[in-house]
Structures are given as structure tokens and as C-alpha cells.
Amino acid sequence: MATRPTGDLTGAATAVTPVAVVRAVGVRRAFGPVPVLNGVDLTIAAGEVVALLGSSGSGKSTLLRVLAGLDGDACGEVTVPARSAVVFQEHRLLPWKRVADNVALGVAGRDVAGRVAAALAEVGLAGRERAWPAELSGGQSQRVAVARALVRQPELLLLDEPFGALDALTRLRMQALFQRLRAEHRFAALLVTHDVDEALLLADRVLLLDGGVLVEDVPITVAHPRTTDAPGFGPLRRRLLALLGVPAGPDAQ
């Protein structure tokens, strides 16, 4: 498959977009003389889950940080919903706050405690409100981080390799949890990952970042709920891996 020019790509994306929650135009970011993002155009529709694939150092996380408003030195136009939440690769819980206070961080309004308890129950940690982060396992901590995002009822969820640091079994459970939460809350999400299977499993669309621009836009049309052994995945996986420069198997040339 040939690489399509970027302009083509966004045109195709916006054509099928009902309401865009994320609109980024011409995002550029350089670290010193090295450009990392070289004019990225990105649109994410309401309720759409977009996976951002790319090899290590391709600028995936940089793009996510720009969208999260954590990068003051990037240029370009970026529109994101006010209700956005971020889940990082590390849980980033404040060790001096109990689980409930971590989830409630910055949450205002009525019945915060009730909403926190509901969010914790949704990620399978009901009743752990009083625990210290240090008492939790890696997977549990990451669940709390997801609850901290959920309690804000985000229109957009920004996920930076959220399950990348977890062991394989925990990762599978977290992916299932994400699918369930997504079906329930219908948030839009940008999922930065280097795991092709994870992208296929969770995303409606896979974007490939290479050389600072989005070089591929692959819609994933397999019906939800998905499993990694769904029939349509084989060719897609091989194609994405080839685009990432990885041979699909030991017999590949």
C-alpha cells in the first residue's frame, strides 16, 4: 500500500465526521533543531476512538501532550473539548492522597463522594476509597487512574500507552474494561499505543505517525465487541505491521 499525502487523509476523515470534538490543524513541534511534529492535521468525531500508532520516537506522545494542553511550545491550531481527561502510561496518582481523594482531584459540584464511588465501582475497585496508592498493584493503580478520568465525564479521553506498563494478563483485562466503559459512556478517545493488536481491538480508526506527519488512516470496521482473533484482523495486522516496518512473521521476506 502506498503512502497517501496528508491532505488527502484529513479530507477523507472529515467527510465522514458528523461532529468533531477534536480539530487540530498544522501542529508543529520541534525539540531544538529536530522537528518531531511537522504539520499534523487531526480530526476526531464525537464518540470515536482513534488509535495513534507509530514507532518509538515518532512523536505520538508529543501529539497527545499537545492535545492535552501540556506542551506550551507547539504551534498550530488545536480545539479540544473542555471536558477532557488524560490517562498516562504511569498511573501518576498522588502518593499522599487516598484513592478517593486522587479520583476526586479537581472535581467540583454536588455529591463528589458519590460520583467517585461510582467511578471506582465501574473500574472494579468498589470499596477501595480509603486505600493508599502504595497499597495497590500496578493494574489497580491504573484502574484508579482510569476512574480519575471517568469521574470527569469526559467527552474526550487522551490515553498515552495506558496499558503499556502492565503485565500481559492485566493488559487484556484493562482492554476489556476499556471496551465496556467506551460502550457505556460513548467518549471519544485518542489512544497512543505501539501495540498493533490493541489498536485493532479498541479503535474505530488507526492513524500512523511517521516522520512527523500522519501517513496512514485506516478505518477498522470490524463490529464490536471484538476479540483479537476476529476474522478481518489478519490482513489488517499484517498491513499495519508492514507500515511500521516490522515483518509480520518469521517467514516474511
Binding site: A68, G69, L94, G106, E135
Partner: protein, 285 residues
């Protein structure tokens, strides 16, 4: 696994006696310190007893070193006639005011230098230079500036407390994980809220180290300044006693200083354990 010889049998008895225990390791950890705490008392008690015996036997003249019981007796006498209380109150007042002033200024300066780049550039260089000066060496200059009154003693204590508080506040703020601050930002926390929820609790462990060092430096400054020239205070009591060769009162003063240091350290430990309760979880895992 290396198990010390006396630890192994203890595990067995403790595991049998405590069915609540989840694992054998914490059981041993709980039983061990209690025995060790008593064991650690043995040598100090033996030393005091030896001192008492040596004094009683007349091997050391009471002018050089009175027996511990004599020191206790003179302490009791001075406590009853109110002299000890008056000296102690004056010394404590100096310590508290000095620590509050020096600690407060140190905290403020450390926070400004730690949080703001401009503050760092303006405050840190002179403080780092002044830090190299042993603050007790300033005594002659302070005597010229402030005379021999209360302000001299309070200034010296404040100077002693300032540097450890400043340095540890600064370091504590600088050592905060930037990723946590970032996460707080994505949660919509304002700069003031980040200060309260992330920076302050994150710098607290370092601040407690600073406090402990400040207490130690403060007591040292107090001892020195009270022996220079004072009308009241534990140090004055000791210097006066020296003139009259009341060695028992001199030793009593030392004991009071030691107890004050011990009490302040204990107080700080309790406060630390309460404020840093979240760290206990860290230690458990």
C-alpha cells in the same frame, strides 16, 4: 535467606500465639523491635550505674563529676524553689521564638527560590554563599551589632534554624515529580491548587528533615549564646554554677539540654508519623 539465630525460634512461638497474622515475616518484624528496644536500654542503664558506683566509691571527686543521684537531688531542689522552671522557661522562649523566626523566613525563602525561577536566581546564590559560613562564627559580629540582650540569642537560634529549613524546602520542592504536577494540571487544578495538593505534600518529607536539623542547630545556638552573657536561662545557670564550683548544677544543665533535645525530637517524630502516614503503605509493600 539469612536468619539470625535468635530470630528463628521467635518466629515459631509468635506464629503460634498470633493466629491473626497473615504472614510470618511481619510477625517477626513486630516481635523483634520490642525485644530489641529493651535490649538497647541495657548499656545506658549500666553506664549510669557504673558512674554512680564510681562516684560513691570516691574514685572521682564530686567537684569533677558528682554522682547521678546528686545531680537528680539538686535538680529536685532547684525545681521546687522555682529557679529551674524560670531558667527553663526563658531558654524555651528563646528557642521557640528563634526557631519560628528562622524557620519561617527559611520556609518562605526556600519556597520562593524553589518555585520561581526569578526567586531562585536572586535568593539562592547569596544563601549558598552564606551557608559556607559557620553561623556560630558570627557571634562577635552579632555582639557588636545587637549587644548582649535577648535579640542576640534569638538571632543566633534563628540563624541556625534558617539554613536547614531553607535548603530542605528548596530541595523538597525541586525533587517533586514533574509528572505528578502535570497530572494535576490535566485534572484542572489551578496553580494555587497544585501548590496545595501536590507541591506542599510532596515537599513535606524533606521539610521534616529540615525541621529536625533546624532543631539541632537551634539548640546548639542556644547553648552557645546563653553561655556568652545572660541573666536567666539554663546556660546562665550553668555558667553561674561554674563560678561557685557547683559541678552538680553544671551537669544538671547538661541533662536538661539533653532532655530538651530528646523531647523536641520525639515531638517531631510523632508529627512526622502523622503527617506522612501515606508512607507507611510504601514501607509495607
Amino acid at each position: 535467606m539469612t536468619v539470625t539465630e535468635d530470630a528463628a525460634p521467635r518466629t515459631g512461638t509468635a506464629a503460634g500465639a498470633a493466629p491473626k497474622a497473615v504472614a510470618t515475616v511481619p510477625v517477626r518484624a513486630r516481635r523483634g523491635p520490642r525485644v530489641r528496644r529493651w535490649r538497647r536500654l541495657v548499656s545506658p542503664v549500666v553506664l549510669v550505674l557504673a558512674w554512680e558506683l564510681v562516684s560513691r566509691a570516691g574514685l572521682v571527686s564530686p567537684d569533677k563529676l558528682p554522682a547521678p543521684s546528686d545531680v537528680l537531688a539538686v535538680g529536685w531542689r532547684l525545681a521546687r524553689d522555682g529557679a529551674l522552671g524560670a531558667h527553663l522557661a526563658q531558654s524555651l522562649t528563646r528557642a521557640v521564638i528563634g526557631l519560628a523566626v528562622g524557620g519561617g523566613v527559611g520556609l518562605l525563602a526556600g519556597a520562593v527560590a524553589g518555585l520561581l525561577r526569578l526567586g531562585d536566581d536572586l535568593i539562592d546564590p547569596p544563601v549558598q554563599m552564606a551557608r559556607m559560613l559557620p553561623h556560630l562564627g558570627l557571634l562577635p559580629l552579632l555582639l557588636i551589632w545587637l549587644g548582649i540582650g535577648e535579640s542576640l540569642k534569638i538571632s543566633l537560634v534563628a540563624l541556625g534554624a534558617f539554613f536547614p529549613i531553607y535548603l530542605n524546602t528548596y530541595a523538597g520542592i525541586r525533587d517533586i515529580d514533574e509528572r505528578l504536577v502535570e497530572a494535576a494540571r490535566t485534572c484542572g487544578l489551578s496553580a494555587a491548587a497544585r501548590l496545595r495538593h501536590v507541591v506542599l505534600p510532596g515537599a513535606l518529607p524533606a521539610l521534616f528533615i529540615g525541621l529536625r536539623l533546624a532543631f539541632a542547630a537551634g539548640w546548639l545556638s542556644l547553648v552557645v549564646s546563653e553561655q556568652v552573657n545572660a541573666q536567666v536561662g539554663i546556660g546562665f545557670m550553668m555558667m553561674e554554677a561554674r563560678e561557685f564550683s557547683q559541678t552538680d548544677v553544671v551537669v544538671l544543665g547538661l541533662v536538661v539540654y539533653a532532655l530538651l533535645g530528646l523531647a523536641s525530637d520525639l515531638l517531631l517524630r510523632v508529627a512526622e508519623r502523622r503527617a506522612l502516614a501515606w508512607r507507611r503503605g510504601l514501607r509495607a509493600t
